[in-house]
C-alpha cells in the first residue's frame, strides 16, 4: 500500500516536472524554430511548429548586418569586468566582515545589508548624474562601475566564511600571511565552488542587464547585446527570424558558459546552503 502510494507520487512528480520543463523550454524552442525559417514564413497565417523550409539565412543576415559582433564583445568585456571587480570587492568585504575585528564592523555590515532595500531604479538618476560628472557616459567604466556593488554576494560570502574554522586563518597568520594573503591563499581556494557559483550568476546578470546600459549608453558601438537587440528590431522592422537569430546568438555564450560550469554552480549553491561542504 505504502509502496504503491510512493510510486503514484513519483509518477505524478515526473509528469509535473516534464510539463514544467516543456513550458519553460517552449519559448526557447519557438525562438529557435522561428530563427530557422525564411522571413516570409514567420508572418504566414498558416501555423506550423516546425519550419516548412529550413534555412540559416536569418543567422547569416544577422551576423552580416548590424553590429552584433561588436555588441557581443562589449557584453563579454562588461560582464567579465563586472564579475572580476564584484568578486574582488565582495570577497574582501566579506572576509573583513567575517574574520577581522574592527570598530564599526557591525554598523558597516548593517549599512551594506540595508542597501538591499534600495531598488536599483531608485538610484538611476543620481548614478547617471555621477557618471555624467565623471565624464563616463558611453564608456566601459560608466557601464561597469555602478554594477559592481553587490550586497547579496557579500552576504553569501560572509555566511560561507563564517562557517570556515578560524584555525585556518590563525594557522596562516602564524605562517606569516597577512589578511589579503590569508584570503587569497587559504579562504579563496577553500571557497572555490561558492566563488564560481557567485561569479557565474554575476556574469549572467551583467550579460543580461538591460536597464543600466540603456541609460548610460547612446553610442551604437558601446552597446551590449540586450541593448543592441532593440536596435536590431528598429533596423530590420518586423523581421522575426532575424530578431530571434540575434537573440539566440546573444544568449548563446552565456548559456554555454552556464553549461560548462553547471556542476560548479550547483556545488557552490549546495555548499552555500550548508547541504554539502
Amino acid at each position: 500500500m505504502n509502496s504503491r502510494s510512493n510510486v503514484g507520487w513519483t509518477v505524478i512528480g515526473v509528469i509535473a516536472a516534464v510539463v514544467l520543463a516543456a513550458l519553460w523550454a517552449a519559448p526557447l524552442l519557438w525562438a529557435l524554430s522561428t530563427a530557422l525559417r525564411p522571413e516570409l514564413e514567420t508572418v504566414s497565417s498558416d501555423f506550423h511548429w516546425l519550419p516548412q523550409t529550413w534555412t540559416l539565412d536569418a543567422f547569416a543576415r544577422t551576423l552580416a548586418a548590424g553590429n552584433l559582433v561588436r555588441w557581443l564583445f562589449n557584453s563579454f568585456l562588461v560582464a567579465l569586468l563586472v564579475t572580476v571587480i564584484t568578486m574582488a570587492i565582495s570577497l574582501m568585504a566579506a572576509y573583513a566582515f567575517s574574520q577581522l575585528r574592527f570598530r564599526g564592523r557591525s554598523l558597516l555590515f548593517g549599512i551594506a545589508m540595508l542597501s538591499f532595500l534600495l531598488p536599483f531604479e531608485a538610484l538611476l538618476v543620481p548614478l547617471f548624474r555621477t557618471m555624467h560628472q565623471l565624464g563616463l557616459i558611453n564608456s566601459y567604466a560608466g557601464i561597469v562601475l555602478p554594477q559592481v556593488v553587490a550586497p547579496v554576494v557579500i552576504y553569501v560570502f560572509k555566511q560561507f566564511f563564517d562557517e570556515i574554522p578560524a584555525d585556518f586563518r590563525e594557522a596562516a597568520t602564524m605562517d606569516g600571511a597577512g589578511p589579503l594573503r590569508v584570503l587569497w591563499s587559504v579562504y579563496l581556494p577553500i571557497s572555490g565552488n561558492i566563488v564560481w557559483a557567485m561569479a557565474i550568476v554575476t556574469f549572467i546578470a551583467a550579460w543580461n542587464n538591460f536597464l543600466w546600459p540603456f541609460i548610460i549608453v547612446t553610442s551604437n558601438d558601446m552597446m551590449t547585446i540586450p541593448l543592441g537587440l532593440t536596435q536590431t528590431y528598429d533596423a530590420f522592422g518586423v523581421r522575426y527570424a532575424q530578431l530571434m537569430a540575434a537573440a539566440l546568438l546573444g544568449a548563446m555564450p552565456v548559456a554555454l558558459a552556464y553549461v560548462a560550469f553547471q556542476r560548479r554552480v550547483t556545488q557552490g549553491f549546495l555548499a552555500a546552503s550548508g547541504l554539502k561542504g
Binding site: 584555525d167 594557522a171 602564524m174 605562517d175 572555490g192
Partner: protein, 378 residues
C-alpha cells in the same frame, strides 16, 4: 631554543576576566604542560603566547625579547592546532612549506627542510597527498611537521591529541616525548587530559578559573598538591575527600573526626588550625586498603561496598561511608581482593599517604615519616 616569561598577564573579554594575573617562567628546552578543566584559561594563555590574542595587561618575553607587540610569525614560535588546521587544497608538502614560501625561502631549501621534517616524522611517503586522503594520526604528524620545518624556538601545542582514538593517542604521546628529546626545543602543551600532562610534562602548570593553582613536576603535584583543586584534578580515579573536623595534633600526627563519628590520623602540620575547625581529609584510591568489617583487630573508616568495577589490570571498589557526599574509591590489585557489593568493610590507610586541607582548600604541610611516630588509622 628560547625561554618564555609571563608577568602579570590579564585578559578580559568585555567585563569578563578569563586570565586573572599569571606569572610564569618557562625555561629553555623545557616541556611544559598547561592543564585544567574546560574554560580555565589555559588555551587563551597559549594563544596569548602565540600572538593570536591580545592581553589586557601584562608582559611577555620570548627568548628574552618583549614580544607582545611582535607579529605571531616573527615570535619564533610554531603552533599545532587541535583541529590540525591543514589547508585542504594544499598537498602535505605544500602545507609544510607554506610558512617558508611566505618567508621567501628558496624553493630548494624549502624542499630540503620539508623532506628532513618528513623523515623525522616518517611521513615522507605522504608528501604528495592532500589532507583529506590522510588518517587522523597522519594529519596530526603533518601538523607537527608543519611546525618543525619553521625551526621555531618554541613549539605550542593546543590539545593536539584530542581528536585521536585512545590507542593512537597513547602512541603519539610517546612519539611527542621522543620528538622533544630529539629537538630539545621549548614546548608548551595544553591539555585537559591529566594522563598527557603527567606523562609528557617536565613541568605542569595547573589552571583553574583563570589563575595558576600550582606549578611543579608531575610527581610534586601528585604527591604534594597545594590545594583541594590540584589534589582532585590529578589522579584517576581522583583523590577521595571526606569532610572532618580537627581533633588535635600529637607529634607529627593530626587527628580528625569524620562525619560518621570515626577518627582518622594524618601526618600533617595542623598547627595553625584551631581544634574543632572544619577540614577535609584526602586519600588517593591506591592508598586505601579494604579490611573485613568483622575483624576484631582491624581499625579504619566504616563503610559498605556499593559498586565494584573490574578493569582487567585492576579492580575499583566504591564504598559508601556514612556522612560522605561521594562514594570512596579504592584500587584493588586483583578482583579477588574486592568484596562483593553490599559487604561491610573498613577503610584503612597510612597517615603518611593522606592529606589534610584547611577550610580555604589549601593543603596543610605534610610531615616526613622520620619526624613522626608510627601511626595507624582508627
Amino acid at each position: 631554543m628560547a625561554s618564555v616569561r609571563l608577568r602579570g598577564i590579564r585578559k578580559n573579554y568585555g567585563d569578563n576576566p578569563v586570565i586573572k594575573g599569571v606569572d610564569l617562567d618557562i625555561e629553555d628546552g623545557q616541556f611544559v604542560v598547561f592543564v585544567g578543566p574546560s574554560g580555565c584559561g589555559k588555551s587563551t594563555l597559549l594563544r596569548i603566547i602565540a600572538g593570536l590574542e591580545d592581553v589586557s595587561e601584562g608582559e611577555l618575553e620570548i627568548g628574552g625579547r618583549p614580544s607582545l607587540d611582535v607579529a605571531p610569525s616573527e615570535r619564533g614560535i610554531a603552533m599545532v592546532f587541535q583541529s590540525y588546521a591543514l589547508y585542504p587544497h594544499m598537498t602535505v608538502a605544500e602545507n609544510m612549506g607554506f610558512a617558508l614560501k611566505l618567508a621567501k625561502v628558496p624553493k630548494a631549501e624549502i624542499a630540503e627542510r620539508v623532506q628532513r621534517a618528513a623523515g623525522i616524522l616518517q611521513i615522507a611517503h605522504l608528501l604528495d597527498r592532500k589532507p583529506k586522503a590522510l588518517s587522523g594520526g597522519q594529519r596530526q604528524r603533518v601538523a607537527i611537521g608543519r611546525a618543525i620545518v619553521r625551526k621555531p624556538e618554541v613549539f605550542l601545542f593546543d590539545e593536539p591529541l584530542s581528536n585521536l582514538d585512545a590507542a593512537l593517542r597513547a602512541q603519539t604521546r610517546v612519539e611527542l616525548a621522543r620528538l622533544h628529546r630529539e629537538l630539545a626545543t621549548t614546548m608548551v602543551y595544553v591539555t585537559h587530559d591529566q594522563v598527557e600532562a603527567m606523562t609528557l610534562g617536565q613541568k605542569i602548570v595547573v589552571f583553574n578559573g583563570g589563575r595558576i593553582e600550582q606549578v611543579g613536576t608531575p610527581l610534586e603535584l601528585y604527591e604534594r598538591p597545594a590545594n583541594l583543586f590540584v589534589a582532585g584534578f590529578l589522579g584517576s580515579p581522583r583523590m577521595n575527600f571526606l569532610a572532618a573536623s580537627l581533633v588535635g595534633e600529637e607529634g607529627a600526627i593530626a587527628s580528625v573526626r569524620l562525619e560518621n563519628g570515626g577518627l582518622a590520623e594524618v601526618a600533617a602540620d595542623a598547627g595553625s588550625t584551631a581544634v574543632g575547625a572544619k577540614v577535609t581529609l584526602g586519600v588517593r584510591p591506591e592508598h586505601l586498603r579494604l579490611l573485613r568489617a568483622e575483624s576484631s583487630t582491624a581499625e579504619g573508616i566504616r563503610g559498605t561496598v556499593s559498586l565494584v568495577e573490574y578493569l582487567g589490570d585492576l579492580t575499583l571498589a566504591y564504598v559508601q561511608v556514612e556522612g560522605a557526599a561521594e562514594l570512596v574509591a579504592v584500587k584493588c590489585n586483583s578482583a579477588a581482593q574486592a568484596p562483593a557489593a553490599g559487604t561491610p568493610v573498613l577503610l584503612a590507610f597510612d597517615p603518611f599517604h593522606a592529606f589534610l586541607f584547611g577550610a580555604d582548600g589549601s593543603a596543610m604541610p605534610a610531615r616526613a615519616r622520620s619526624a613522626a611516630a608510627p601511626a595507624v588509622s582508627h
